[in-house]
Symmetry: C2
Subunit: 309 residues, 2 copies
């Protein structure tokens, strides 16, 4: 079985009934599992997590586009998080039995069909990218929806699929394939946005920080605090605990405490277990000392008919 995860980000995080309708459209596709949903009012954005085999996943994404285009209008959308379109980003991620190549193929097929069926321009990104200048999501999204028409007038920004101008209300979409990503935020006990911005600049790859960290400062105005909002794009090489410790140290420099941190959506168990290994100074821990991991290993061996150890 080829199991692939798909995590569409849509530009609606305030009107619950709209997000419910999007999920309902996905649920109508058999053989796709809805793993998680998470809406953020400040970002005005929702993150949906699906798992399934390639063909039903593609069908679910097309159903999501149809519902989102009918209910989300970027011309009247506002939120703290950068965005280009109604269905802003659609990454495919290899899980059990799946390869990155299969995810790239699925991204291209889905992107082409979205463009054909809905006249939404589609950019391919990360592992599915066809152009080194358009590998990074941030580069593609720079200028946001409001700057999209001007940006697309340049030959450099002809989309991979679809029309050479934005969809009037749904903008453009970014579709691709990547490794599992952790959406991780650290909230600071201050309302000084410049502190969050300086910390974000210190830790992110683009300005000299950790290789697999994307970060920006965000004001959570309803709570009167600020946030370092991050994507950890490879938790094995840039682990969550190292990022937490670095943000804590940088915050100290401005006399600011870390209030709390949060994972948005799902996180692989290994990322959190790695953090506990660090903080508990576990010296010689093996991943298969985790009871559930060991049980899965043994069951998999038994199914393959290998001898018990």
């Amino acid at each position: 079985m080829v199991l692939i995860e798909c995590v569409p980000n849509v530009s609606e995080g305030r009107r619950r009934e709209i997000v419910d309708a999007l999920l309902q459209a996905i649920r109508r596709v058999p053989a796709v599992r809805l793993l998680d949903r998470s809406s953020d009012r400040s970002h005005n954005r929702s993150v949906i997590t699906l798992v399934g085999e390639p063909a039903p996943l593609k069908e679910a994404v097309l159903a999501l586009f149809e519902a989102a285009i009918a209910s989300i209008d970027l011309r009247i959308h506002s939120g703290e998080h950068p965005r280009l379109g109604a269905v802003d980003v659609v990454p495919f991620i290899p899980l059990e039995g799946a390869t990155m190549d299969e995810c790239v193929t699925l991204a291209k097929e889905t992107g082409a069909e979205v463009a054909r069926r809905f006249q939404v321009p589609v950019y391919l990104y990360e592992e599915a990218s066809t152009n080194p200048a358009r590998k990074n999501l941030e580069d593609i999204r720079r200028g946001e929806f409001e700057g999209l028409a001007a940006k697309m007038a340049s030959p450099d920004w002809a989309p991979d699929y679809g029309p050479r101008a934005p969809h009037p209300s749904a903008g453009a979409s970014v579709v691709g394939a990547r490794m599992p990503l952790i959406a991780y935020n650290i909230n600071l006990a201050t309302d000084r946005l410049e502190v969050a911005n300086k910390i974000a600049a210190a830790i992110r790859y683009s300005s000299g920080g950790f290789r697999y960290v994307k970060a920006m400062g965000i004001a959570l105005e309803d709570r009167g605090i600020v946030q370092v909002s991050m994507n950890l794009t490879n938790y094995e090489k840039t682990p969550i605990f190292r990022v937490f410790e670095a943000v804590t140290r940088e915050a100290e420099r401005y006399g600011v405490d870390v209030l709390e941190s949060e994972v948005v959506g799902l996180v692989p168990a290994a990322a959190l277990i790695g953090a506990s290994e660090y903080f508990l100074r576990l010296g010689s821990f093996r991943p298969n000392q985790v009871l559930e991991t060991r049980l899965r290993e043994i069951s998999a061996k038994t199914e393959r008919g290998e001898p018990k150890q």
Copy 2:
């Protein structure tokens, strides 16, 4: 399916060929899975983790007794860890689909059969105990093998099953049922055993510490350091991170650093994820944000024919 875990502790942690022979005896029982083995030279003790359904587990434990009695002689055994017999302790622990009552029944049946077949006296402990004064393993084991004959002369220490005197070479065994336990040790950067002893006394239940902690100081002479050796008997109510933090603070008082900690054998993922929630200050984390947990939940629902959420 009724899945039960069984974690026999045997009094041999130095002669690898002997431990291998014990495991070989277990492997001959079909339908029992050997999850883990862990030997400790200082303790001169091995911890074996098995999973299976009740009937094969009982058969595996009987096979282990037969092999252990043939190869382990307590009259010439020495080690840092208290022990009463060749197969020192045999706890049964409920996993998926199993209740504590089923574990108690299995403990009693297994204990009775061990006594009948091998003439080894058996004490029931924890949830299987028939006597409040003999619920705690430490109380039963006090005096160790060397003091066993004198102890058993008292009517208070008539065993639950078997002869009213120790087996000449294999002593006595303690069989019972309990919740999952974490064998957790913290190594200190000092050779002062009194520091480990004082910290153990500060954190263990029996002398005023945490409700679900058993602890003692141990010298790891081959490494020139000392260890606070613990059993955490309910990681939900007395979590691993709280114990780590308390030991760290107590050690500071004596100018001693924590060198590292270690989990012996298996640990439920939830115990480590709980530690990362604490250290990362995860504010509103839900257990089903863990990808693997969510996948299992969804699969279980699908198997039961419930609608996808």
